[in-house]
Amino acid sequence: MSNNKTIWHKLGNIDYRWLYALSLICTIIPILYPLGLPVQVSGGTIGYFDAIDKLPAGSVVAVSFGASAQLLDEQEAQFLATWKLLFQRDLKVLFYNPLQDGTLMLQTELGKQVIPASYGKVYGEDYVVLGYAPLGEAGEASMGINIRGVYTTDWKGTPLNDLPMMKDINSAKDIDLLIFVYTSCTDVEFPIRQWVTPYKTPTIIATLGCCGPMAAPYYPTQIQGFLSGSGMGTELEVYGRVPGPGAAMSDAKNIGVLPFLFFFIFGNLSYIGNRYKWGVKKQ
């Protein structure tokens, strides 16, 4: 093999640690010195906000809270902004957790980061937490048919019939909006198949950045809005005027991604240059 390596070869073999070092620098600087870069609000976020905002007073919102502790940084901005928007309005909120972590996160975040009492909300009358059940798709289907078939008590063991809010809430027909929070990309199909298709329940979803492209095809015909990643969580904070952790991350994300963009360009130039042998003298 020739030792006379072309620039394309060298470009494709830059030590990956340069990328990490540059990315760390580009990420840390905006954390220390925020730049206040503008946030563009996308259609999915506006749809998500409108779905909550346009609900009539007294509407019932079910929140399938499939958040994961490992992904807190990606999801926190989304769900904190959502909770604030829900508690600011005259709505009945029903939380349930299809992942074990969801209950744990509700315990640590609800009442500490977002305090329902500060919005005048009372547990059992304005919001209820059902807790964890290993739901999956079959569980979502069961929830739609009969909530009491899945949960007989709330997360603290209080029978649902003893909670005033739950008096008339039995199945999907009593739910005015479903907010489906999930971390496994294909789970977007659960609410589509078990809530939207059979009951036409208005649905909005919140998921990870990588899952957005799988949720987007359902918007706006089958879901009313969607949040993909903390970026759209930030958009919701800005659009809904509910400040939270997303805004602080926004600058770091915008700048931190630049080294990756440059390296994508380098990598592709290197690939094309090597493939078509640019700069190699023909013999």
Partner: protein, 216 residues
């Protein structure tokens, strides 16, 4: 600064964040310690949560008289027969139940929600597009081409090429592959930003702790 249990917890968390980040330089013993501690803690965490779940959803109601729950509990226990080779065939029964229930639950919704309604949405969009302006027409046509060509990429019952070269199906599949690559690229970029968000979250944690240490 007053040292409390919470401060100690933050110090331990910071150590593990740094130990995991040290992998960016190269594999090292500190990274291994962090990795194994995180895996161990996560495993213990989920064992406790799962046991709680079994207790709350099965054992407790059974003690209250709901004896029918012994059926799912028994099926769940059969899953553990996989641990012994001679008895592992027994695990097929709960697997069969899971597959059967899963398929039954999803099939109706899949046909209507994911095939018919998605197709309907594409067609309705095309019919409505001219009223919404040039860009919408362009987007809609693009989606239509993308949908059709991406589907043809997965058509294996016809040959995509003959001795003379690519067939019409082959050309369509080739274009479809470009759409699929763009789609995967979009997924991957979302994944990258997600990792970056996690990194930012942990760096912010470290910076806040450093500020606390120096009294900032």
């Amino acid at each position: 600064m007053i040292w409390t249990i919470a401060t100690l917890g933050t110090l331990v968390a910071s150590f593990f964040i740094l130990s995991v980040l040290s992998m960016l330089w190269k594999d090292n013993p500190v990274f291994r310690i962090g990795q194994q501690a995180v895996i161990g803690a996560a495993t213990a965490h989920y064992i406790v949560l799962n046991f709680e779940s079994v207790y709350k959803n099965a054992l407790k109601p059974m003690m209250g008289g709901n004896l029918l729950l012994i059926i799912p509990l028994f099926l769940g226990l059969l899953m553990y027969t996989r641990l012994k080779k001679e008895a592992s065939w027994l695990a097929r029964y709960p697997t069969a139940v899971l597959v059967g229930v899963g398929t039954g639950v999803m099939i109706a919704g899949t046909l209507r929600g994911q095939i018919i309604d998605q197709l309907k949405a594409t067609i309705v969009d095309i019919l409505n597009a001219p009223a919404s302006g040039g860009l919408t027409v362009f987007n809609t046509v693009l989606i239509l081409i993308g949908t059709i060509t991406a589907v043809t990429f997965f058509t294996y019952t016809q040959k995509h090429a003959t001795e003379k070269g690519l067939t019409l199906l082959g050309w369509s599949a080739k274009i479809g592959r470009i759409f699929l690559m763009i789609s995967l690229g979009a997924n991957w970029s979302g994944e990258l930003v997600w990792y970056l968000t996690q990194l930012i979250g942990r760096l912010t944690y470290l910076i806040n702790f450093a500020k606390l240490l120096i009294g900032g």
